[in-house]
């Protein structure tokens, strides 16, 4: 049982990282970014490439992925999404889905559909606590995910750019009247969201196998995580990540009369939870009506 609890906590932190960038973009720009999974897997490949070709330190690879995705995110926002930012949401939905299809297929062309993962000397290191094994990398990833969430929270509330982002999220027309450049702020928001996806992708590359076909799955996860947690703060993504990981880790244990009900149905169970949460608490577990 201790092993399950450990798995749950570690996976929950990783899922928080998956959700946090998505939550920023959704909360500020009112865009559900269906390309988030692609951005995340691009981050995985960036880290993989930096580690296996350039032989950079494993943890610097995360920063490489973040920097690369920051640039990609800025460009995507400037070239494509800024054109439809005021359109009905189905338009942005379709647009980001198209981008997702484009990116994931290009990834498949360049890197083939093979599953990959970063194999480092640290992969097998771990310690044992109360009879439960804690892999070192997973623990580091979990800690880093929490640090990223905290950093985002501090950035948003303490820095000039961060406050500009929040102001645009609250009321874009009023923010514009206060002299905040909308296009630039949106580009910055999307770039940060993409960079966070890059970090999450790099962390996934360290602990899980990934391939271009994983993109849709992670977009879906990000949505469920963020909708469960709510849009209010970066910390809501952590709550959502924990809840989602709970379903994924413990669902396979549920059995009725020897029939393993939950096994293989993690996504289904997560969605049932999602619908229930949305009906009972429309703003999510920790959500507020606006991003703050």
């Amino acid at each position: 049982m201790a092993q399950y609890v450990i798995n749950w906590l570690l996976l929950g932190c990783l899922y928080a990282a998956v959700g946090v960038g998505f939550s920023l973009i959704w909360g500020i720009m009112n865009i559900v970014n269906l390309a988030q999974g692609s951005l995340l897997i691009i981050g995985s490949y960036a880290a993989y490439w930096a580690y296996s070709v350039l032989h950079i330190n494993l943890f610097v690879c995360v920063l490489v992925a973040m920097a690369a995705l920051f640039v990609v995110g800025w460009l995507v926002q400037y070239v494509a999404i800024n054109r439809v930012i005021r359109a009905p949401f189905l338009v942005t939905f379709m647009l980001t889905f198209g981008l997702d299809l484009l990116f994931s297929n290009l990834l498949q062309l360049w890197f083939t559909a093979d599953y990959r993962s970063i194999n480092s000397p640290l992969s097998d290191v771990g310690l044992t606590l109360l009879g439960a094994r804690i892999p070192l990398l997973n623990a580091l990833v979990a800690v880093f995910a929490v640090i990223l969430t905290a950093l985002l929270s501090v950035f948003l509330s303490r820095t000039r750019s961060g406050r500009a982002i929040l102001a645009v999220g609250m009321d874009r027309d009023a923010a514009r009247l206060m002299g905040i450049g909308l296009a630039r702020t949106y580009a910055l928001t999307f770039a940060i969201g993409a960079a966070l996806a890059g970090a999450a992708g790099a962390m996934i590359a360290m602990v899980l196998p990934f391939s271009p076909s994983s993109t849709g799955q992670y977009t879906l996860f990000a949505f469920v995580i963020v909708a469960l947690g709510g849009l209010g703060t970066p910390w809501a993504a952590l709550a959502g990540g924990m809840t989602f990981a709970f379903a994924e880790v413990f669902a396979p244990l549920v059995s009725v009369g020897g029939f393993q009900v939950g096994y293989g149905l993690q996504v289904g169970i997560a969605f049932v939870m999602l619908v229930l949460v949305l009906i009972l608490r429309p703003n999510g577990l920790l959500g507020k009506p606006f991003y703050s």
């Binding site: 338009v91 647009l95 997702d100 299809l101």
Partner: protein
């Protein structure tokens, strides 16, 4: 956000004389297009017939989505669930040696009941949440079929071919899809002039106002959801016995989420909420899709993605509405696009001026 008018923003519907003229033209053109497609078997080329069978199938799917997504403005992202239910019901029935028509009928009933049961909670959600909840339902069904070995190992279906020769059955399924498309076309035309159709448009334009006017919005929304499930489930049933072998998930699977998105793209390109839109969009998108698939399987995915991006950025109103605007004032549309072009050029020059190249 005041985004209840999600799918399209059209002037309020009123049955004026020009409206009923447009209705007659839409139905006439739609029937004519389907009749021309119906000539495909004259070529005698089985590949051509299959090509147009796929197009007819996607027309039906786009028309089905149009009820909930186009008329009611609720962006369902999981309509492939009904398609998969239709396909799997037929497969399970045929595997037990029962007649095909029973599978089609049962699939229809199960999909309708499923739409009702799922619609009751899910249609209380709005906007993004509704979209993702429907997507999740479809994903969960695919996952269920795959992990619980529905109909075969990992949900992979393999049926015995129908007891007629290949050419005959290919033609039969072609006409099956085509007749279905025709029926749904006429049904859509009827709906657009019915009490329910007007109620759905009212919901799309402003749900709160519709509710305040005494329209039982929730009942109509559920009705539209069930209505969109019906043709989709039959299309799934036809697809199952036509293809004979299919997977639950992954590309070309009966629960492949891309199918949901492609049907939306079709309705969207043609014009969501119109009679002719899904037909036009279905033909254009599926033609391009299959053409690129044959021409270069490697580039098929990226090209489809690019197509979606270009359509949503440059044609968000859809072909039907663009035609309507063009007929009304060609100058206005020209001006609109040249303005957009000039703005783009200006933005690029400004970007280069401030950042350098």
């Amino acid at each position: 956000m005041a985004q209840s008018s999600a799918a399209t923003e059209q002037p309020p519907a009123r049955a004026t004389r020009s409206d009923s003229r447009e209705l007659r033209w839409s139905v006439g053109i739609g029937v004519a297009i389907l009749a021309v497609i119906g000539l495909a078997p004259l070529t005698g080329n089985q590949a051509t017939i299959s090509f147009w069978t796929f197009i007819a199938m996607y027309i039906v799917l786009a028309q089905g989505w149009n009820f909930i997504g186009g008329f009611a403005g609720y962006p369902a992202f999981g309509n492939v669930a009904f398609f998969g239910i239709g396909a799997y019901t037929v497969a399970l029935i045929l595997e037990r040696g029962l007649p095909y028509w029973l599978g089609l009928g049962l699939g229809l009933v199960i999909a309708a009941v499923f739409a009702l049961v799922v619609g009751l909670p899910v249609l209380r959600l709005k906007g993004h949440y509704f979209a993702i909840a429907t997507l999740g339902v479809a994903e969960a069904l695919g996952e269920f079929a795959a992990s619980k070995n529905v109909g075969g190992t990992a949900g992979e279906i393999s049926l015995n071919p129908p007891p007629i020769n290949y050419v005959e059955s290919n033609n039969l399924f072609f006409y099956g899809f085509l007749v279905l498309a025709l029926v749904v076309l006429l049904g859509t035309a009827w709906l657009s002039r019915s009490r329910m159709g007007y109620a759905l448009v009212a919901i799309r334009e402003n749900e709160l106002a519709a509710e305040a006017l005494g329209i039982p919005t929730f009942r109509y929304k559920v009705g539209a959801f069930v209505l969109s499930a019906l043709p989709t489930a039959i299309a799934g049933g036809l697809f199952a016995y036509w293809q004979l072998a299919f997977d639950p998930v992954g590309e070309g699977g009966a629960f492949d989420p891309n199918i949901s998105v492609i049907m939306i793209l079709m309705a969207f390109l043609g014009g969501a909420g119109s009679i002719l839109g899904p037909v036009l969009g279905g033909i254009i998108i599926e033609y391009l899709d299959q053409y690129t698939l044959v021409a270069s399987p490697m580039l098929h995915g990226p090209l489809l993605g690019l197509l979606i991006v270009v359509v949503t950025i440059f044609l968000p109103q859809g072909l039907i509405r663009l035609t309507r605007e063009l007929l009304r004032s060609p100058e206005g549309v020209k001006l609109q696009y040249s303005m957009r072009f000039k703005q783009g050029v200006r933005r690029v020059t400004r970007f280069i001026a401030s950042n350098g190249v």
